[in-house]
Amino acid sequence: GQQVQQSPASLVLQEGENAELQCNFSSTATQLQWFYQSPGGSLVSLLSNPSGTKHTGRLTSTTVTKERRSSLHISSSQTTDSGTYLCASRTGKLTFGDGTVLTVKP
């Protein structure tokens, strides 16, 4: 079945630095979705980006479908960005990666 690999597993930044998160998936996906999971556990959809580049606020996602990879760029990180970022790809059903744990220090 579909496999989703995320890197790095964890990332520590100083406030104001940029973050680059990577997601690789094993099969061509019809949908690629990025989620944020708060330290308390709640999940929020950030972006749905099956191909190309999408922006929302300080977030930019770029998906290269042929190369089966996607990235999430967070500009000017803030302490409130701390949490886990999950990538999920769809080939029929959504398959999730294990996430990148982001810690932003003040």
Partner: protein, 114 residues
Amino acid sequence: EAAVTQSPRNKVAVTGGKVTLSCNQTNNHNNMYWYRQDTGHGLRLIHYSYGAGSTEKGDIPDGYKASRPSQENFSLILELATPSQTSVYFCASGDGTGGADTQYFGPGTRLLVL
């Protein structure tokens, strides 16, 4: 108001007991999903549904049943709970538009099976 709610939020069960996790959505979405998340890992799909009366097996259905009695409600049933089912369970609803199904998640249920 929260569009996807789950109950209970926390549950302690005994091995061999029956556990029912409930999910309610007010998004009027056709699709609903049950996932589990183990510490340090992503979500894994247990069961899903395309509408009232339908349930489908996900990637890890063994030991779980699902019930979708209405558009709004989707339950996950553990007939004989085991310690390996200790996890956090998330319900989601999806709008299912075209080939992209943006999913909206509930707050999760923490289940501990002793």
